[in-house]
Amino acid sequence: MHRIKILFVFLIFISLNAKANEAKNWLNKEIDIIISAIQNNDLPNENKFLMVENTINNNFAGTGIAKFVAGKSWNGSSKEVKKEYIKLFKRHLALSISSMMQGYSDQEYQLTNSSYDEKNKVTLVDMEIFSDTGSIQVTWRVKKSKDRFFVIDLLVADISLVVTKRSEFNSMLKSVDYNLSEFNKKLLSQNESSYQKITN
């Protein structure tokens, strides 16, 4: 009976490990696409960003993150305002990640570890980015839905991108009485400014 228990635990471990590795391999491929787009010196900056944005939009749970970040302002808004907000948020997310990845583009990176969190159905993939003087750890949170993987969060040195965005948006939303339509104007303006910086 003891052997059966060991076999049972072993099979579960193998199964969770396979799941984590599957996500890790998928993520490795997608990060390579982003990095090679950023490193491609033949492309103008606008095209580089569009390639990165396309990859991010395809692989991040953009709509879900947008809703989460909007917090309590989401429910009182009209369909059109929500649609506009999601569009603006997706661009904002792409600009944020693209800007961060630009800084890492000339550094070596390695996906070091992956584990499957059974309780939350989330795979955590650790990435180490090396510089001459040290390294920084990035953790990707990946969720599977309808046989596809989606990134739901990114942690850089213990700081979650999604939690930070929620806190930041909440502060700005408070200043416009949680009016998502008013907030969209601010987000549009921020996106335009970020886009200028990233493409120049």
Binding site: F68, A70, S96, T133, R141, I159, V163, E168, N170
Partner: protein, 261 residues
């Protein structure tokens, strides 16, 4: 009997193995609760926000004009020089780190930090070379702010300190305690070399800032509210440092739903 065990085992494996019934367990449904229930953005108590924002703006200008350019210049130095400076500064922090580890009941870590200090100060040429890292003595930082938190003292309210940046009442108290008890500072003062204290603080700031140039710029360039973004980042980072756990375990997991358009 063997057959029965075989059937039960097969059933259990099928029922519990997530890869076999993966499709069902991965089904993520949209629920309005996903984006309504979490309130961790409201946890930061910031009654001095107006004053804090003014100091933050000043710090931001100081960073752009002084610290960032100096950190960028420092980053251009040959990497052995940067590593040497970083190692030297980190080594000076170890006596207090060991003390705080002891105060937090982390005997093993305290012994490791003491070992690190001993090895790096001698074999590592006054701490310029991190020899201890190669023999498995990892750097684990602890400060008085973390010790006070471990003893159950709450954050207090959020404060932005001129030049020193984001903090809170507890961590500011911890910082003052560090300044008062640091044996390196005490030694420098007793030798009539008190000028070395601000130099050490400035060198530490430059070294730390040089390691996060890209991250700070990405945050600054892409934030709708940079102040709130830094405040949230500070709290997340401190929480992780206090808990001494992996970031992926510690940070509250946002319940993100996946939707298809």
């Amino acid at each position: 009997m063997n057959k029965l065990i075989h059937i039960i085992l097969t059933f259990l494996i099928l029922a519990l193995s997530p890869s076999i019934f993966g499709a069902a367990s991965d089904e993520v449904k949209t629920s309005s609760a996903d984006f309504e229930t979490t309130t961790f953005e409201d946890e930061i108590y910031d009654p001095l926000e107006g004053i804090n924002r003014a100091i933050f703006s000043f710090n931001n200008v100081a960073d752009r004009i002084v610290l960032e350019p100096v950190a960028k210049g420092y980053k251009r130095l040959p990497s052995p020089i940067q590593s040497g400076v970083g190692n030297f500064i980190n080594n000076l922090k170890l006596p207090l780190a060991a003390l705080n580890q002891l105060l937090q009941g982390q005997g093993k870590n305290a012994a490791e930090s003491s070992g690190r200090f001993l090895v790096n100060s001698t074999v590592g040429v006054l701490g310029l070379i991190d020899v201890a890292d190669n023999i498995g003595l990892d750097q684990k930082e602890e400060d008085f702010g973390q010790t006070l938190a471990t003893w159950g003292i709450g954050d207090g309210f959020y404060i932005v300190l001129p030049l020193f940046g984001p903090s809170n009442v507890r961590d500011t108290t911890g910082m003052v305690m560090t300044m008062m008890t640091d044996p390196v500072n005490a030694y420098a003062a007793s030798q009539g070399q008190a000028w070395a204290i601000p130099v050490k603080t400035a060198a530490n700031a430059i070294d730390q800032r040089s390691q996060i140039i890209d991250e700070v710029n990405a945050l600054r360039d892409n934030s709708v509210d940079y102040y709130a973004a830094v405040r949230s980042s500070y709290y997340q980072n401190r929480k992780a440092a206090i808990m001494n756990t992996d970031d992926d375990v510690l940070t509250p997991l946002p319940l993100i739903s996946i939707e298809f358009e």
